[in-house]
Structure formats: structure tokens, C-alpha cells
Symmetry: C2
Subunit: 207 residues, 2 copies
Amino acid sequence: MGVVTGPARAAGAGGRQGPKQDRSRATRQRLLEAAVSCLAERGWAGSTVSVVAERAGVSRGAAQHHFPTREDLFTAAVEYVAEQRSRALRALPARTRPETVAALVDLYTGPLFRAALHLWVAASDEPQLRERVTELEARVGRETHRIAVDLLAADESRPGVRETVQGLLDMARGLGLANLLTDDSARRDRVVAQWGRIVEQALGGDG
Amino acid sequence: MGVVTGPARAAGAGGRQGPKQDRSRATRQRLLEAAVSCLAERGWAGSTVSVVAERAGVSRGAAQHHFPTREDLFTAAVEYVAEQRSRALRALPARTRPETVAALVDLYTGPLFRAALHLWVAASDEPQLRERVTELEARVGRETHRIAVDLLAADESRPGVRETVQGLLDMARGLGLANLLTDDSARRDRVVAQWGRIVEQALGGDG
């Protein structure tokens, strides 16, 4: 995994942790999860450290001990949940390419994508957020690309394969956006079925 | 064109218009263009009727005569500029499918997409905006799909062709999102070149 090191680093370097560290890690995790759901539901304007602390059942002081600024909290939260999703995806059993296309698209239709979208759009107007979200997006994007290449058994040494995978992830992101205001799942299922076939053909490898 | 009738309706039914109507239409147009650039640059939180009126060099009273509410102004603005873009796209000379793919993706990388994105994301949190933006998105989406089908000479009676075009437009939207915080044009050009070839093959028709 490697690239997304935020939460692991904060929880301490080794595995030998006392009850105090366990409690601290649990508090941190509750804050991160509350931050993502808050951002997904209320947007950036409605998401502050206080609101998240209350939602997580944590004092404001404790929240600020873990995350000194609003930017710290929300960028860490999106990164944390993105890493959880990546891990879950890697842990799934082997699947066909069309099934993988569907699983990749699923990454972009839940609360995590909604939260990340709010953060990106806020970052486009707020300089103090922009640089951090840009770095975060690059790290998460690279990791998602690596996972997609592995799961699709895509041979990136062949010309065009890298761009085929990239375009597929761009499509998944666009499908996430189309799902923002209305339930787009019926249309999305048909698009994913067709694009599963297209990607299978474009990647080739056994034909 | 037909579907997007807002600005035409407001400017009067016929072609016989006096100088007063001309002035009124010019004011309206200035407001709409200022609203889109304001939304693109400052986001929903920074976009009010007053700010747009000042930017357009129009009094606040005149702006409110044309657009009684903030929601009226910004939804009309996104629709107006979307219609202008559609018209420009239809007016272009015939082109190859890969060239058409590139032109379609271009729709999603300028200030109009940025403005629309701010409006969508704001609408996901604000009920009074949500319904109007949902309708607007559906109208503009249908029109863009029709244009794409025409320009790509796609035969939608063939199975999968409709979903191929839809997925392509989803990809274009995702590429627009990837361009929000950084200049993604170098990567995008490579993705567009590869997917131009893939779409050409998927649509077939002469091979």
C-alpha cells in the first residue's frame, strides 16, 4: 500500500501499543469517519471541527488535539476512508474484467466520493486548502490507478493500455458526478455493462 | 435546438423588437455571462445577485427585475451558456470520430463546467436549488447526448451504442473534474487520443 501513510503514521510506528494509544486511535478513527459523513451530507460550508466532534461524541479539545485545523481533519478523513476502500478492493477475490469495471465504478458512487467532491470544489476557491487537496488527490489517484491495473491484469508496457485504464477511471468519476443529485443507478448499470465489454476488448491479452 | 428555451423566451416571441427590448436583452445577456464567470471563479458561496450585477455593470434593481431570485439567475446562466456551447458545437464542420471525441471533452474543461459543478454541488445541500438544477441537468444532458450521437454518426438502434456514447460523456465529465485543481491537459490529451480510437472501434459502422 505504502503511499497512503497518514493514519498509520499517526497511530504509532510499531505494533506494541498500550490501552492509552488504543483509545487515542479509536477516537481518531471516530473523528475521521464522522468527518467524511459530515462532509458528504452537509458540504464544506456545513463541516467544522466542532460539528464533527459532536457527531463523533468527542470533546472539541480532544478533536483539536488530533487535528489542529479544519483542513487537517478533512483531508486526513478523505485519505483515511480512501485507504480503507482501496484495501477492501484489493482483498476481494479474483474477478473478470467486466466485474472489476463494476467494482471500480462503485468506488465513486458512495459517501466517500461525495465527501471528496465537496472537498475538491471547496479547494478550488480556498488557497489554504488547495495545495493539500491537490497532493491528496494525486496520492489517492496514483493508488487507485495501481489497483485498477492489477485487478484488470492490464499490461501497461503495451501502447495505449495506461490511457485505457486512466480513461476508465475518469468515466467512473463522471458516473459518480452524475449520481450526485439523483439516483442514476439504472442508467449506470447499463453503461457499466457496455463499458465492461469495451474495456475487455481494448485490453485484450488473450485474444 | 428547442429544449433550451429560457433565453429565447425571455427575449420575446418574434423578431420585431424595439430598442427597449434590445437593451433589455443585452442587459440580460451581460448578467448571464457575468453570473457564469462569477460562479466559476468564486463558487456558490461567493456568488450573489449583487456581486453579479456589479460585475455586469448593471444596477441591483435591474438585475432583480430580470432575475427575482439568486436561483433564477444562476440556473438561467448555466443553461444559457450551455446552449451557446451546444450551438457552437453543432455549427462546426464535419469531423472524424476521434476529433469529435476531443471536441466533446473540451465542453467539460472550461469555465462553464466549473460553474455548473459549483451549482450541482451547492444543489446537493440546498433543497430550493436541488429541484431546479436536477431539471436543468436533465435538459442539458439530453441535448448534449443528442449532439454527441449526431456528431459521432452513432447508430443507436444497434445494441450498446447508446451506452457507449453515454459512457463517453461520463468520461468527459470525469476529465473535467480532474482538471479542477490542476492543469490536467497533457494527461487528458493522451487519454482522449486513446479513447478516440477505442470509441471509433466500438461504434464501428464502416468496418
